[in-house]
Subunit: 198 residues, 2 copies
């Protein structure tokens, strides 16, 4: 039976390609992995990959879109399970800590470093990822300040960007230091400082 494929390829093979490519981008970067890398891991040929993702740029877009969608789901789950703003921030930090624990960078943090070399559609998708995160955090920060749990200087938006960028940079440096274990508690404290957790 043949499934209908969407624009971004939704079959099982395509999904396996995305899984492998995602890990490679998160560890090595978009410009430092090749179709050959993915093909050998999947035990197929490079030509097969081009059937699912005609160009590397389209593969890149699909990667970011899927990653962003998963993040959106995770954010919704945090909102459903935590009511307190401080605890929501802790859970948010946990998303990044889990990524680093897998010895990976955030996909979009990695791509942000390569931003200048990427095609327009990928750039736009990266900005959307950050926009989603900042908007969600700004909401948490606004509510938290109203409820007196948080007391930060500056706007919620600016503070939200500080948290997102901070997490990206702390991951980056922690990975170079080979210091994965301390990330979670340290990042929690730093975020608490930025957000003025009571």
């Amino acid at each position: 039976m043949n499934r209908t494929r969407g624009r971004t390829a939704s079959g099982e093979t395509a999904s396996a390609v995305l899984d492998i490519a995602e890990r490679l981008v998160q560890t090595r970067g978009f410009n430092s992995f090749s179709y050959a890398d993915v093909a050998s891991e999947l035990s197929v040929t490079k030509a097969s990959l081009h059937y699912h993702f005609p160009s590397k740029a389209e593969l890149g877009e699909a990667l970011i879109d899927r990653y962003t969608e998963r993040f959106a789901v995770a954010l919704a789950e945090i909102e459903a399970s935590e009511r307190d703003a401080g605890k929501r921030l802790d859970a948010y930090v946990g998303l990044y800590a889990d990524v680093l624990q897998n010895e990976r960078m955030c996909l979009c943090g990695m791509l942000a470093a390569e931003y200048e070399t990427l095609p327009g559609p990928m750039r736009a998708a990266i900005v959307r990822f950050f926009e989603l995160n900042e908007a969600w955090l700004a909401g948490v920060l606004t509510e938290g300040r109203r409820g007196r749990g948080l007391s930060y200087a500056g706007s919620p938006r600016e503070t939200a960007r500080g948290i997102v960028g901070g997490l990206e940079g702390w991951m980056l440096v922690a990975r170079a230091h080979g210091d994965l274990a301390r990330f979670r508690p340290t990042a929690r404290r730093l975020v608490a400082n930025l957000a003025g957790v009571a």
Copy 2:
């Protein structure tokens, strides 16, 4: 007259090569520029570059070493010109803001993203850069707390790493947002939050 060249090449051409390669790494990344890029800008051939820097890895090492040395000089200048801990932190933020104003990432922040793909000697040099920065900041933070100008939770070392990583990440995201202008004041405020500036 022929100058004696050191291990890392100290002639004028070598210096021009480093200038061009540095900018390319800071904007595009180490794996996204080539000897051909540098050669065409310098109007020489690729083969000439290999005379000064036999391998790309050696060029990379020389880049990091020079960058780190310049940073060390800048840190010493800050210590000489500012006595107050808060002002020293502001001046430190200024170093990063100046880099971003030139539409560049921090050299070592960029390389940290590519860390997994880099040869051992380059990795070690990157870690030395972060180590230098964290040690210097830890000193400022220790003094600032003793003098009651600063009041942060956690150790000076951890807070120092928070500042370094934070600046790297804020640069990364600001560049993707095309938001160079707001970086300086925002980063100042965020660092002040992390360090507990009175």
